[in-house]
């Protein structure tokens, strides 16, 4: 015995998908024409090297006022800080890109990333301006870079700004609280 269902109409989910697809096609030409060619990059420095993230993936840039180290956590986790009453983990990319961590200064900045919410902060020495770069001007990362670091990069610009892939940064399992098991 089966349960009777109505099959003469597309179910609401299906209908929704069709409508969404139509809306997307309608919206495409107007929305994508002006910015399609250019990437807006937020450039920051870390131990004398320049990095960039696509500006739309950055939720906020703020001063790193203070942080609390977490004993026993991954060495990439600088600590946790208070961002408007919520706990935000702060990571230091230098361990991943092969640079020596040199500590934190009073001028250190925090670049906040996340999808739906503030997920993590990346330590930066200085945060510069947003600049527009054509995708063609981003080249494959140099071979000399460690494989670990390359995974986080979209590429590198002519003037050696390493363009990070925000999605890859957010997904990287090393940017979590626990130290990799192999280390322990």
């Amino acid at each position: 015995m089966t349960v009777p269902t109505r099959s003469d109409r597309p179910d609401p989910e299906q209908a929704g998908r069709i409508l969404e697809e139509r809306a997307r096609i309608l919206a495409r030409p107007a929305a994508e024409k002006s910015h399609a060619d250019q990437l807006e990059l937020l450039v920051f420095t870390l131990s004398g090297e320049s990095y960039a993230l696509e500006a739309r993936s950055v939720r906020e840039v703020t001063a790193l006022a203070d942080f609390t180290p977490v004993p026993g956590a991954s060495r990439h986790l600088l600590g946790i800080t208070n961002l408007r009453g919520e706990i935000l983990p702060v990571f230091d990319l230098r361990g991943l890109t092969g640079l020596e961590p040199t500590g934190v200064t009073d001028l250190s900045r925090l670049v906040v990333l996340g999808e739906d919410r503030d997920e993590l902060g990346l330590l930066a020495d200085h945060v510069g301006e947003v600049r527009a770069v054509a995708p063609g001007e981003i080249f494959d990362p140099p071979e000399t870079l460690s494989a670990a670091g390359r995974g986080l990069l979209r590429g590198v610009t002519r003037d050696a700004v390493m363009v990070l892939d925000a999605g890859a940064v957010l997904r990287d399992p090393r940017l979590s609280g626990a130290e990799n098991r192999s280390v322990k």
Binding site: T2, T68, V70, G72, I80, T81, I87, P89, A178
Partner: protein, 739 residues
């Protein structure tokens, strides 16, 4: 995106509903089984039918076909029962109980994001369908209710409509649990803000006092100078005095406004907090829902007779605690029936009633909840525990209660044979883990032949806990007060060594191991006590250990913040809280600390007779210039002082209140609160009246120096003459020599 969100929200609501219906199914089935022909039976059957029916509709709306289908078959079976076509017999009970379990399993799978395929639903659905088909063939003693698709009749059973109406009339609204959590968190923040407001009030009052003092000073001077100055100077001074008087009056008014506002806010915030907390309360009975069913099933399988008694069912507990209690309670009750209660024959032989008793009780003890599960069974066989410990190579405890603690070790079981029901071991380690996750502790008491009692002591609410704030290696940490047995302050000469481990005497009992908290956490600066006096926090579970700390700061309510999914559980950290300074402090996982402390090799870190290092003096350094701050900091740190940094006077003041210090070095010109005001605040405070204050400034004028002196500064160093010996020798003389 939005559609996904909606779907997720719908699914979450469905899971909740599913849980409720499973509860209703079990409750009604149990009642019906106890008294199948009782006067309440028709109502019970009706409730069962309604639960199956609503669930079918709900499952359809979220497109979960397997559940929809099974509920449909359940409905058919129940409809036949309801129509009097068949009576409820053993077989029907068995299959309906199994169906309730299958639905509960489905709920868990949905919550875990798992697929429903290949679950118990697959197997049960056809069995139910077959049963329904057989019932349909059974000749009816009276005209049966049409067993077909009479959807008009079934879509809205009259009882349901009436109940829904009543709920709406009473204004009952279903709110998602995370929203309640958020509300409580916000309310908690408000309570923390209150504390800051209190300080602001105190600060304004201090300014008022200072102004009053200045006023008196002015009056004296006027009397002294009356004869000397001319009339022009006099009128200028009168004008100045009038302005000063206005300012004083304004500060006084501000103080009064602030006080009234604070009172109003404190009242509103605490009333709101109470209301939010009350909203989150659920009766303890909710956590016990599944227990009766578990006892019934187990007792049947073991051929024992067990009565389950719930005490304190109406005690209201925060839902976060209640949720965390479900699993440990189930494990404990299963354990009591499975391993505690003897067979009727054995009980008779021991002179006990044949029917065993398991009592699940909740009681409030101050700000803690005590939840216990007690049975009148055979009790824990201590000899068997000792034998098992020996077999596993564990150290043999002398005290009985330490033996009981072994039972909570993972995989430690004394059941002579692993029974079919409890499967793998006793599951007491699960109870312990759950209790620890709730920031509580667990204890087991047992008397041979009389029974066993397991007591969970938990904080009354999860989101704020009472905690002890303490300092170790220059950091502030929080320890849940529920896990602290007591505080120790002893002379380091009292520390002994036993088996390579440092211990402190503990009254009548055996000595307690003592370890520096910082070194357990792996922090630098963790060796060597600060003074010959050792301050320590004694915790009781899973073993008694004293953790030596630099200092105890305060005991207070703190707002627990999760570290978030990205950090999750890290070693010794259970969560975090935000201090009034805005800084984050870690909440320590005491059980993990104890474990690490016990695993570490012994070391002599605390005992007297070691070279006791000089106490590091703490200096708070306030300067708004990064360069100066770093320069001064490096000078002070290389001289062996502990330096806390503040970017202005206000932050320095908060640091001082929070952490204390031996000396304050401050710039004069700073935003928000300058060095002079800071100095005055220090002098006006009872606690820090005698704190040495060194003002450092770029301003070099006699007037400024006088201002600094008036404010109560001990020394005044000008940056132009700034060199490190100058600063260091000043500090050293103020601190009475040595870093």
């Amino acid at each position: 995106m939005d559609k996904d969100k909606l779907a997720r929200r719908l699914l979450a609501t469905f899971q909740e509903e599913l849980g409720e219906h499973v509860g209703a199914l079990n409750e009604n089935l149990l009642a019906l089984e106890k008294d199948p022909a009782g006067p309440e039976s028709p109502a019970r059957v009706k409730s069962l039918f309604r639960a199956a029916h609503s669930l079918k509709g709900a499952a359809r709306s979220v497109s979960i076909r397997p559940i929809e289908e099974m509920c449909h078959h359940m409905e058919e079976v129940l409809r036949a029962v309801q129509g009097g076509v068949v009576t409820v017999e053993k077989e029907i009970f068995a299959i309906l109980f199994a169906a309730a379990d299958a639905l509960d399993d489905a709920r868990k799978r949905l919550a875990g994001g798992q697929d429903l395929a290949a679950g118990p639903l697959d197997e049960l659905s056809p069995r139910l369908a077959a049963l329904a088909a057989r019932q349909a063939k059974t000749p009816a003693p009276q005209p049966p209710v049409p067993s077909g698709r009479s959807s008009i009749l079934l879509s809205a059973p009259p009882g349901e409509a009436v109940e829904t109406g009543a709920a709406v009339a009473e204004g009952i609204v279903r709110v998602a649990a995370p929203k309640l959590d958020l509300l409580l968190a916000r309310s908690g923040e408000l309570l923390v803000a209150q504390g800051r407001l209190e300080r602001a009030e105190a600060r304004v009052a201090a300014i008022g006092d200072t102004l009053a003092q200045v006023g008196r000073e002015l009056k004296h001077r006027r009397q002294d100078q009356r004869l000397e100055s001319g009339s022009a100077g006099r009128s200028a001074r009168a004008e100045l005095e009038a302005k000063f008087g206005e300012a004083r009056a304004a500060v006084d008014r501000l103080g009064i406004t602030l006080r009234d506002d604070r009172r109003a806010i404190v009242r509103a915030a605490s009333l709101m907090d109470e209301a939010v907390r009350r909203m989150r309360l659920l009766p303890f009975a909710e956590a016990c829902q599944a227990l009766e069913r578990a006892v019934r099933d187990l007792a049947k399988a073991k051929e024992t007779e067990v009565e389950l008694v719930v005490e304190g069912a109406s005690i209201e507990i925060d839902r976060s605690i209640l949720e965390g209690l479900r699993d440990p309670l189930r494990a404990l009750v299963r354990n009591a029936v499975d391993h505690g209660i003897e067979t009727p024959a054995r009980r008779r032989a021991a002179g006990k009633p044949e029917q065993g008793r398991v009592v699940v009780a909740a009681a409030m003890r101050g700000s803690s909840i005590e939840v216990s599960v007690a049975d009148d069974g055979s009790g824990v066989d201590l000899a068997a525990v000792r034998a098992r410990a020996r077999q596993r190579g564990l150290p043999l405890p002398h005290e009985d209660r330490d033996c009981f603690a072994l039972l909570f070790e993972p995989g430690f079981s004394t059941a002579e044979q692993v029974t079919e029901i409890s499967g793998r071991g006793v599951g007491l380690d699960i109870v312990k883990t759950s209790a620890e996750a709730l920031h509580g502790r667990v204890e087991l008491i047992s008397e041979p032949g009389r029974g066993t009692r397991v007591i969970l002591t938990l904080p009354a609410t999860l989101t704020t806990i009472r905690a002890l704030l303490l300092a170790a290696a220059g950091e502030t940490f929080a320890v849940p007060a529920a896990s602290v047995l007591r505080l120790l302050r002893i002379d380091s000469t009292g520390i002994r060594s036993a088996g390579g481990r440092e211990v402190v005497p503990d009254g009548e009992g055996p000595p307690i191991p003592i370890v520096p908290l910082a070194s357990v956490l792996g922090l630098r600066g963790g060796t060597g006590p600060a003074t010959r006096k050792v301050t320590a926090v004694v915790v009781g579970a899973p073993a008694r250990v004293a953790f030596a700390v630099d200092e105890l700061i305060a005991e207070r309510e703190i707002l627990v913040k999760a570290l978030g999914p990205r950090i999750g559980q890290v070693g010794h950290v259970a969560g975090a809280t935000i201090l009034e300074t805005g800084r984050v402090a870690l909440i320590l996982n005491v059980a993990e600390l104890v474990r690490t402390a016990m695993e570490r090799p012994g070391e002599a870190a605390l005992a007297a007779g070691q070279a006791v290092p000089q106490a590091r003096k703490r200096i708070i350094l306030a300067d708004d210039s990064v360069t100066t701050r770093n320069l001064e900091r490096s000078i002070l740190e290389s001289a062996g002082y502990e330096v806390l940094i503040a970017v202005d006077g206000e932050q320095a003041w908060r640091l001082l209140l929070d952490r204390g210090a031996d000396l304050l070095v401050s710039d004069v010109d700073m935003p928000r609160m300058g060095g002079i005001s800071l100095c005055k605040a220090v002098r006006a405070s009872k606690r820090f009246r005698d704190l040495p204050v060194v003002l450092v400034t770029g301003l070099e004028s006699e007037e400024d120096r006088a201002r600094g002196g008036e404010a109560g500064a001990d020394a005044y160093i000008v940056k132009s003459s700034f060199d490190q010996r100058d600063l260091l020798s000043t500090i050293s003389s103020l601190l009475g020599g040595g870093a």
